[in-house]
Structures are given as C-alpha cells and as structure tokens.
C-alpha cells in the first residue's frame, strides 16, 4: 500500500471521517476512468463509482491489508461496475478464444512516421478516441494496466480472471487499438495524398 493511502486510512479509522475526502480526491479520476471504460456511459459510471466509494467507506475497517489498498479498492469498483453492467445486460459478446492464431497484421502506411505523428495532437486524439471505443471486456484490463499501472497479478485479484485470460485480453486490447488507429491514420494519409494530388492538378 502506498504510504499516503496508508496514512489517510489510519486517520479515517481513528475517527477523522473528513480524511475520506482526501482518499476520494486521490483515486477519483483513475477510478472514474475505469468505470467509464466498463460502462461507457457517464451517468452510470458516476452512479457506480458513488456506490463503490460508499462501500469502501463502510467496509474500510475490514480491509485486511493482504493486498495494496489500490488493488482492494479497484476490485470494489470493478465488482460494482460488473453488477451494473450485468443489470444493463449490454455486455458485448466477443470470442475470447486464446488459442486463436495471431492475426495477419497490416503494416503501417509507408508515408506514416510514428515518431512525427506522435507529436501531432491528432494522433493523440485518435488514440484516445480508440481507447474509449475498446469493448468493455478489453477496456477494463487495458485501463488497469495502463492507467492504474497494476501488474498482471494485481489485475487477476481485481477482476477475478485467470492469469492467462488477463494476458490474452491485454494483448487483444492492444491489437484492437493498433488496428483501429492504423485504420484511422491510413485514412488520414489517404486524405493527405488525395489533397496533394488535387493541388498538383490545380497547379
């Protein structure tokens, strides 16, 4: 557990319930990002997160410190969101067959230089957009890995999924993102090419 979390929790358990606001501020945005990746809807995500925080408050005295506070906390957020998701019954059905062969990859377009493109805000926007579009099944593991910066073992504890499934989902999430961004960038390169051609024709 991080020292900061530890200190805040000690204060809350000592009766300083106002310290809970600090804990909220510390984990608010990361938890909201996770909830959004799962529920894909701002209202539902906030409602679930509110529920999760209330649960944390009520059960904080039973937190046994077997894992880090972050792992324990994100497990609660994950469970609340999973319940909300199942209630909504909108879970996207995706084949999770891990034995599938790696798909044949499309190579990046010749004219595309990722080092240059990364500096453009357009690339960042495209990546951000495509991350948000990831199906919730993959978005959860992806967010826990990149935003919460949890390791595989911690993701296993949070999601309750087997290690193999976690690794597989993370890989597929990154492949989905790669393909989506590439498709998007190929479109942009195509537009630029046709723009240049039009320019040359005019000249």
């Amino acid at each position: 557990m991080s020292n900061h979390d530890d200190e805040i929790i000690r204060r809350i358990l000592a009766g300083e319930t106002r310290a809970f606001a600090e804990l909220l501020e510390l984990h608010n945005d990361k938890a909201m990002t996770l909830a959004m990746r799962m529920l894909k809807n701002r209202e539902d995500a906030e409602e679930a997160l509110q529920d999760a925080f209330v649960r944390v408050f009520k059960t904080l005295d039973r937190f046994e410190r077997k894992s880090s506070f972050a792992t324990w906390f994100y497990r609660i957020v994950h469970n609340v969101c999973a319940t909300a998701l199942s209630k909504r019954d909108q879970q996207v059905q995706i084949s999770l067959n891990g034995d599938r062969a790696e798909p044949q990859l499309d190579l990046p377009p010749d004219e595309w230089n990722p080092q240059v493109e990364l500096e453009s805000s357009e690339f960042q926007q495209v990546v951000q957009q495509e991350i948000e579009n990831l199906p919730s099944t993959y978005g959860v593991v992806f967010t826990l890995f990149f935003v919460q910066e949890l390791g595989y073992d911690e993701i296993v504890k949070v999601t309750g999924l087997p290690l193999g499934t976690v690794k597989n989902r993370l890989f597929r999430a990154r492949m989905l993102l790669r393909e989506a961004v590439l498709k998007n960038m190929r479109g942009s390169v195509g537009e630029r090419k046709s723009g240049r051609l039009r320019q040359e024709t005019i000249e």
């Binding site: 608010n28 990361k30 909201m32 190579l107 990046p108 990364l118």
Partner: protein, 185 residues
Amino acid sequence: MSHLTSKQVMQLLDGMIEAGEQVRLNAHLTLCGRCRQEFALQQALYRATKQQSLVKTSAGFTARVLAQTALREKEQSAVLKVLTRYGHLLAIVFGLGILSFALSTISGWSLTTKKLDALRPSDTLLDYSARVTAWLGQQFHQMAQKLTEFAGEQNLKLFFIAIFIILALTLFDRLVVQQFIKTRS
C-alpha cells in the same frame, strides 16, 4: 530469423523479455526495416496510451459521496449498531428467556410470584426506580435459589440443554446474524 510477432514487440516494450532474448531481438530490429516500422508504431501507441487523459467526475461528485457516507453513518447508528455491538448479549438474554420458560413449564416454577407494584400517584421517579431495582434483585435471588434447587433435583440434563440453547443462540448470532449484517453493509 523470421519477423518479430506483435507479442514479441509488446513484450520488448513492456520490458518483459529476458536479457539474452532482448539482445537477439534488438539485433534483428537493426537489420529488418519491416520490424523496425512495427516497433516504431507500437512504441508510439505505447507512449500515447501512457499519456491518455483521465475521465473527470462531474463537479460536486465528492460532496455527493461525502453526504451519502454521512447519511449511512446515521442510518447505521440505529438498529445495525445495536445488533453489531450487543448481538451476543441479546442472544444470551433470549436464551435465558427460553430457559425460564422451559423451567416454568416443566417444574411449575414462575419468576413472577411477586409482581412489581404499579406506579403510584405519590411516587417520585427516584421512589419508583428504587422499587424496580429491589424487585429485580428479588427476582435474581429467587432465580438463583430455584436453579440451585433444580440442580439438586437431578434435573441437570434439562439445565445443560438450556445452556446448550444459549450457546447455540450465541453461535447463531456470531455466525449468521453478524455475517448477515456484514453482507448487508
């Protein structure tokens, strides 16, 4: 060497490849333009992913959560707090109730032989509380006497059954009632 797989490229970026293998893959990258291109793409995605912006909660979210936690604290102070703190005592009192009921049914013994006088108009609160205390003392004295007689009458079996009931109820409280409270909260 054949081209690197996407998995290998990702593992290389995540630093999850053994040192020896890493040297071999890096050597391949310097020679193979296609894999270098793939690596550059994955690297760009990795960096962009790390820089992704977080989703903010709406204004007033923290206040709403804090208000709800304060409300929960109040709610819990009524029934749940009593059950959580004094559940085992309630179980023992209930068990004693069953014990006295069983004893009165079987051996014609009643704890209420001398009834408590009702509140008289002339009573002050102090007078009445003194009478209630005296009455309770008598009841306990009587109960202790009867229990001694009862044990003397070799009705120990029934007595132990009653003790067993108390223990069972206490266990029921610990294992069921308290767990139920935990689950609810």
